[in-house]
């Protein structure tokens, strides 16, 4: 599908409360058709609550959401036939068989996908005779994904789609997610795994304790954080002398593990290696510029308060 990106999901200042607890505290983001958007955050950050509002399932205490131009709670019937949902724990009858579950859901939509073809696509064709409770964790996740797709949705909400799935299963799920977006579906997926967001998402919204703490493409997110360089070398280097040489603050964060902060000199790596070579020190690992999303994530979700156990 080509043409300008259409906004499929818009969330504006959303708040969700459970009694006194504010689970979602003023979240805003949008997602477009043909795009994989990852809501990334630790468990209990408010990702699932946010998606439940978008599914028309949970009431928002404040703010506005729109899915395909409609309010999913008040205009439920205009939305519900055009979205596909993958719940975190399946939501499947324990004694039902995969084709039975897919045929049940297929009967609820106007233009469903072929259940047998879908089973084939998620690699469950040979498990058609097993009940849900006989499937492995990874097989259950793949059936859940098929359940989200059987109605040919325009927006797919996938909650932790690869949790508990082995490497091969993850590859299957990721490639299906990619195909969906390429077919013009807006995919909104929740994950607490950075690796997953890095691998499948076009854009990432990082959520922590009910708030958006970072958003953008991976490249944008990486460049948001300050110029940090990490390297490993012999322990006990003269930090002050090195700091003067590279023009930044150097700390030894662990034995032989160093962190340079506030470095914006493009020649930094050259200066560092020269300085180390002069002293006969060996340079181990050096990471700069292209930070892993993990570092960004940890930096953005690092708070002063302890994270509660929710």
């Amino acid at each position: 599908m080509s043409g300008p990106a259409t906004t499929a999901v818009a969330v504006d200042d959303l708040t969700v409360r459970y009694g006194d607890l504010t689970a979602v505290d003023g979240i805003s983001f949008t997602s477009s058709a043909g795009e994989v958007l990852a809501l990334l955050g630790p468990n209990g950050a408010g990702k699932t609550s946010t998606v439940e509002v978008l599914e028309g399932y949970r009431h928002a205490a404040g703010g506005r959401v729109s899915v395909l131009g409609h309010d999913p709670e008040r205009e439920r019937s205009a939305v519900v036939g055009r979205i596909g949902v993958m719940l975190q724990d399946g939501g499947v009858y324990p004694a039902i068989r995969p084709p039975e579950m897919l045929r049940l859901l297929a009967a609820m939509y106007a233009h469903p996908a072929d259940p047998d073809g879908l089973l084939e696509r998620v690699g469950l064709a040979d498990r058609a005779g097993s009940t849900w409770r006989q499937l492995s964790g990874g097989e259950q996740q793949r059936l859940s994904l098929a359940m989200a797709l059987v109605g040919r949705p325009e927006v797919a909400f996938l909650d932790e789609p690869t949790a508990g799935v082995d490497v091969r299963g993850r590859q299957v799920i990721r490639s299906i997610v990619r195909e969906l977006a390429d077919d013009g579906v807006a995919v909104v997926l929740c994950t607490h795994e950075l690796d997953e967001a890095e691998k499948v998402a076009d854009r990432v919204v990082i959520i922590d304790r009910g708030r958006v703490v970072g958003a953008g493409t991976l490249a944008e997110l990486r460049s948001q954080t300050s110029g940090e360089v990490r390297f490993s070398a012999d322990p006990g280097l003269d930090l002050r002398a090195l700091g003067v040489h590279v023009g930044a603050t150097v700390t030894e964060v662990g034995a032989g593990e160093y962190l340079i902060e506030g470095a914006h000199d493009p020649q930094l790596a050259a200066k560092l290696t020269a300085w180390l070579a002069e002293r006969g020190a060996t340079l181990g690992d050096l990471r700069a510029g292209r930070q892993r999303l993990e570092d960004v994530f940890l930096e953005l979700t690092r708070g002063d308060e302890p994270v509660d156990g929710r």
Partner: protein, 245 residues
């Protein structure tokens, strides 16, 4: 296939696939009917015990499916997130509820199709008044289903399982299904008469006792009150998502 029909088929398929549920809805009623018809230990005055037992066991079967069976199935569907998942589809709650009711009625038809021939083989000679029977079954199913959904919609699935089976046992003893209430001491008899089980037994018994027999108006009133109250409470308290622990 329409969504309602598809949901109805799944409700029936899963009930029939569940062995515990089959034991409860068919095995136990058939066993009780056969055993107590052949072994004359219950305090039944009738010339042939099956004449008293058959309507009682049919009433018991209605209770076992519409209360205990429905409560346990719905309770676990809620705790597994099935109800939540269906809530995100175009099915909608009214059609889900309609499919569940139709599923209960379908199982009741199967129960009757098994129990009535067994009773006739045991010597039962019923004289059916159809309209009062339909009225009794509708009211009884509604009252017990309301109780079952009330439990399933508010309690954790494990508690619902225990309570639905516990109530089954209480009603089995106090519902007049097997033991005539005349055998009970006064206060207990009065209490038992206020329960939906004994009212349903009275009505089903009268419906099979020929054109001349009429059930006490009290039984209709008691069952109707339960049939209004329990679904109302269930509807007001039902939660669709799993309980947060």
């Amino acid at each position: 296939m329409s969504a309602l029909l598809a949901q109805f088929r799944v409700e029936c398929t899963l009930t029939l696939r569940n062995k515990e549920s089959l034991l409860l809805t068919l095995g136990i009623p058939v066993g009780l009917l056969v055993f107590f018809s052949l072994v004359d230990v219950l305090p039944i005055d009738a010339a042939d015990p099956v004449d008293v037992l058959a309507p009682g066991v049919l009433a018991l079967a209605i209770m076992s499916m519409s209360m205990t069976g429905l409560a346990i199935a719905t309770g676990f569907e809620r705790s597994y997130g099935v109800l939540k998942r269906l809530g995100t589809t175009p099915l909608g709650r009214p059609r889900l509820l309609a499919a569940k009711i139709a599923g209960v009625v379908a199982i009741e038809v199967i129960q009757a199709a098994v129990l009535v021939p067994v009773a006739i083989l045991l010597g039962w000679r019923p004289s059916l008044s159809l309209l009062p029977l339909v009225g009794a079954v509708v009211l009884g199913t509604t009252a017990f289903a309301g109780l079952g959904l009330w439990m399933a919609g508010t309690l954790r699935a494990e508690i619902t399982l225990a309570l639905a089976n516990g109530l089954y046992l209480v009603f089995l003893l106090l519902g007049g299904f097997l033991i005539p209430l005349e055998e009970f001491p006064g206060p207990l008899r009065t209490a038992a008469r206020a329960l939906p089980g004994s009212a349903l037994t009275d009505l089903v018994t009268a419906a099979f006792a020929g054109a001349g027999a009429t059930a006490p108006g009290r039984a209709w009133a008691v069952l109707a009150l339960w049939a209004i109250a329990t679904p109302a409470v269930a509807a007001a308290t039902f939660r669709w998502s799993p309980n947060r622990n």
